[in-house]
């Protein structure tokens, strides 16, 4: 549980620290003109971006808890590490590339260069789909090699963690699909740009999660 504690400690400290800074120097019963003028928006960013950040905190909690459970369960006497297929390296490369291409696409979108956005978005999505297909092939290789899910907690965790990560990836692809359709049909570039920017953050986040998970799976 230490890992969860650290994750959540950081998140909670950030939230509470931020809230305290908003509140420490205020005497709310004194009516101040400066206060009257403020807009009721705490962050200088879009609403959707705030929602995404909140969601990433939730996802961090989910993965942090899984990782905690993993490290605790790992100490059991029946833990038999499984041989990760080499394919996972190739999959990881796909995901890294997807993230890079997404970032590149985002930069293009911010500059309003929609002609670059179209191929960029397509390639980023394709790489992500390749990653997911690669994960499924890796599962099949493991099953063929006799690493069944119920046989050993290490196996069970491998399938569970990759599945949960994959599901998050699929959720991202849904948003990606929407923005891709919008880009190709030439919809309002403002909302598309926002969607691409947020997706980029999400892709980076899931890449980071994958790197942590992969590192943990490899090292144990």
């Amino acid at each position: 549980m230490y890992i969860t504690l650290i994750f959540l400690g950081v998140i909670m400290a950030t939230i509470i620290g931020w809230l305290l800074r908003q509140t420490l120097n205020s005497q709310p019963w004194v009516s101040e003109a400066a206060d009257d003028a403020v807009s009721g928006t705490s962050m200088d960013t879009s609403t959707k971006a705030v929602a995404l950040m909140t969601f990433l905190a939730v996802a961090t909690s989910v993965f942090g808890l899984f990782i905690s459970a993993y490290t605790i369960r790992m100490e059991g006497p029946d833990w038999r590490p499984l041989a990760e297929p080499t394919l996972l390296w190739a999959n990881s490369a796909m995901l890294v590339l997807a993230s890079i291409v997404y970032h590149w696409t985002r930069n293009a979108a911010v500059k309003g260069n929609m002609e670059q956005v179209k191929p960029g978005l397509t390639v980023a999505g394709a790489l992500t789909i390749l990653f997911l297909l690669g994960q499924i092939v890796a599962w099949r290789q493991l099953i063929a090699a006799g690493y069944y899910v119920g046989l050993n907690p290490a196996n069970a965790f491998f399938y569970l963690l990759t599945a949960v990560h994959g599901l998050h990836m699929l959720g991202g692809l849904w948003v990606w699909a929407k923005s891709t359709i919008n880009v190709w049909t030439g919809a309002d570039s403002d909302s598309v740009r926002l969607s691409i920017e947020l997706c980029t953050v999400y892709w980076h986040f899931l890449l980071l999660v994958w790197v942590v998970l992969f590192g943990m799976l490899l090292s144990t």
Binding site: M1, T4, L5, L8, G9, I11, M12, A13, I15, I16, W18, L19, L20, R21, Q22, T23, S26, Q27, P28, W29, S31, A33, D35, D36, A37, V38, S39, G40, T41, S42, M43, D44, S46, T47, V50, A51, T54, F55, A57, V58, S61, V62, L65, F66, A69, I72, R73, G76, P77, D78, W79, V149, G150, P153, A156, L160, V164
Partner: protein, 587 residues
């Protein structure tokens, strides 16, 4: 971080003006309708939970008298009662119900920032309730593993509902968490991004603070329940051994091996303890507002109240293992968790002091909502103090798993928040419906509920001191339990039945007053916060007519010296306060 300078974000909120009855009341995206859907469904399922409790109280008060209660359905009722009350009633009602209703209205927003997701949230919640109910009608019935669902017994033979019952329970929880997350993202984002001009964080009513912090706790803590539910589902369905050790079941050696039941408990309580505050913090916030409005006085120590909410929220993540002192975890953890647990008592006690000090030098109107609020202070003080017994690791040794624990958590997170729920419903009923409830019936409801619950739970602590364990179908003859304890149990059961019957007064009152209640007007309590400033009562879709309100002061300007009225609404600029006779000293 500085506030952003642009003002009107009306364009960011999508509007879907309702056209027909269906879009207005069923597929509605209006936060107020969603709030009432959430609240109504939560109260409905809460009534089911209450009936379940009446049934198993009958067995405890009159052992072996009623043929329809057997050890199997006793455990199923106990388990489902707990789960319903904690999750499907209180969490849903405070956050889905009051959160939805109050956040946009008290912050001067048109709606939640993602109304469609908000609507999905309530429908997914309804689905989770349906799955929960369905678990009673599958072969084997609902789970009887206790609301804590501890493995191995939750999924091994010897416990009711180990087949479909527990699977549906876990699926229902997972679905609930999805619903909550959709709602929660909305509440957090709305509080951060969609307040009206002038509404600084420190001008927010404490109701919103409590709901806001509780939502943050929920968003970060519910994943622990999700993770443990998923892992237990896998243990049950495909035979993994996350939580299941090498063990026997029904006389046979199982295929499980190596898993850790204590790991589940860590995950469960990592959710379970913040859950207490997910229920308590909104209650804290709401009761502060009730006290202030009906005592006609500013809440005492507003800043301390906000910081206490933050401190309690933060600390609530590092106290979970005080539920596990006798679970077999490393006993040295006891030192750490006892210390953190007792530390959390300090901000909590400060909140109690500040509530009482708000009454001091107030101008107290004992209307129904105020009765419930003061009743809350009494029961919460009681429940909080017994928490100091259980949180102190040594004292937990004799008291853990006894009726003392049951009495404690019913006082602190059953009775107390429910008193606030009732107070809040009476308080905002005029705003929600445009009519007043019946004051006489409201007072009857308060007195019977308040005195009834105390006469139920005070003696229960002493049954616990005696050493009677919880979740026992029957005690039988034992040396250490005098026969008089049975009589005491009988009296407790009678109290429970009276309380249950009393709730019909409440239902009658809120249903009949819908048609028969006196028209309430826009601000019957002469309150200052924004929800009482809406152009229409009940507020229409979009809440504020053409123009969003602008806030010039905090929500607690009651009896401001020099002002003509004893309340100054948040929308009144400093320069426009009507001046009246000097009210500097009154008492």
């Amino acid at each position: 971080m500085a506030y952003v300078s642009i003002a009107d974000r009306d364009h960011e909120i999508e509007h879907h003006d309702p056209q027909t009855f269906i879009t207005k009341y069923v597929y509605s995206q209006d936060h107020k309708v969603i709030a009432i859907q959430y609240g109504g469904l939560a109260i409905l399922i809460g009534l089911v939970g209450m009936i379940l409790s009446s049934i198993f109280r009958l067995q405890l008060g009159f052992p072996d008298t009623f043929a329809f209660i057997n050890p199997e359905n006793y455990l199923q009722f106990v388990s489902t009662h707990g789960m319903i009350m904690v999750i499907y009633l209180l969490t849903a009602l405070f956050l889905g119900g009051f959160g939805n209703y109050l956040i946009p209205l008290q912050l001067g927003s048109r709606d939640m920032v993602f109304p469609f997701m908000n609507m999905l949230s309530v429908w997914v919640y309804a689905l989770s309730v349906l799955i929960l109910i369905a678990s009673f009608f599958v072969p084997g019935g609902a789970t009887g593993a206790g609301w804590t669902l501890y493995p191995p017994q939750a999924i091994s033979p010897g416990t009711p509902g180990v087949d479909m019952g527990i699977i549906l329970m876990l699926v229902s929880l997972a679905v609930f968490i999805v619903a909550f997350t959709m709602g929660g993202l909305n509440y957090v984002t709305t509080v951060l991004q969609a307040r009206c001009r002038g509404m600084t964080l420190m001008r927010m009513p404490l109701s919103v603070w409590g709901i806001f912090m509780a939502t943050i706790l929920g968003l970060l803590a519910f994943p622990a329940l999700l993770v443990s539910a998923i892992m237990m589902l896998l243990d049950k369905t495909i035979g993994t051994s996350f939580f299941m050790p090498a063990m026997m079941a029904a006389g046979e050696v199982t295929d499980y091996g190596g898993g850790s039941p204590v790991l589940f408990q860590h995950l469960f309580w990592f959710f379970g303890h913040p859950e207490v505050y997910i229920v308590a913090l909104p209650a804290f916030g709401i009761v502060s507002d009730l006290l202030s409005v009906h005592a006609r006085k500013n809440i005492f120590g507003y800043r301390m109240m906000v910081w206490a909410i933050l401190a309690i929220g933060g600390l609530s993540f590092i106290v979970w293992a005080h539920h596990m002192y006798v679970s077999g975890m490393n006993p040295y953890f006891g030192f750490f968790f006892a210390t953190t647990t007792l530390i959390i008592a300090v901000p909590t006690a400060l909140k109690v002091y500040n509530w009482v000090l708000t009454l001091w030098q107030g101008n107290i109107h004992l209307r129904t909502p105020m009765l419930f609020a003061i009743g809350f202070i009494f029961t919460f003080t009681h429940g909080g103090l017994t928490g100091l017994f259980l949180g102190n690791v040594t004292i937990d040794l004799p008291l853990s798993d006894t009726y003392f624990v049951v009495a404690h958590f019913h006082m602190v997170m059953g009775v107390s928040p429910v008193l606030v729920v009732f107070g809040a419903i009476y308080h905002w009923y005029p705003k929600m419906t445009g009519r007043m409830y019946n004051e006489t019936l409201g007072k009857w409801h308060f007195w019977l509920t308040f005195l009834g619950t105390y006469s139920l739970y005070l003696p229960m602590h002493y049954i616990g001191f005696l050493g009677v364990p919880r979740r026992y179908f029957a005690m039988g003859n034992t040396d250490f339990m005098p026969d008089s304890a049975i009589t005491l149990n009988t009296s407790m059961t009678i109290s429970a039945l009276i309380i249950a019957a009393t709730q019909s007064i409440f239902l009658y009152n809120i249903i009949v007053s819908l048609k028969k209640g006196k028209p309430a007007g826009g601000n019957p309590w002469k309150a200052t916060s924004l929800e009482w400033m809406t152009p229409d009562t009940p507020p229409k879709h979009g809440n504020w007519g053409h123009e969003l309100p602008v806030v010039h002061r905090w929500a607690y300007d009651y009896a401001v010296p020099g002002a003509a009225e004893d309340y100054t609404p948040q929308t009144v600029p400093a320069s426009e306060v009507p001046v009246g006779r000097d009210h500097g000293v009154d008492h």
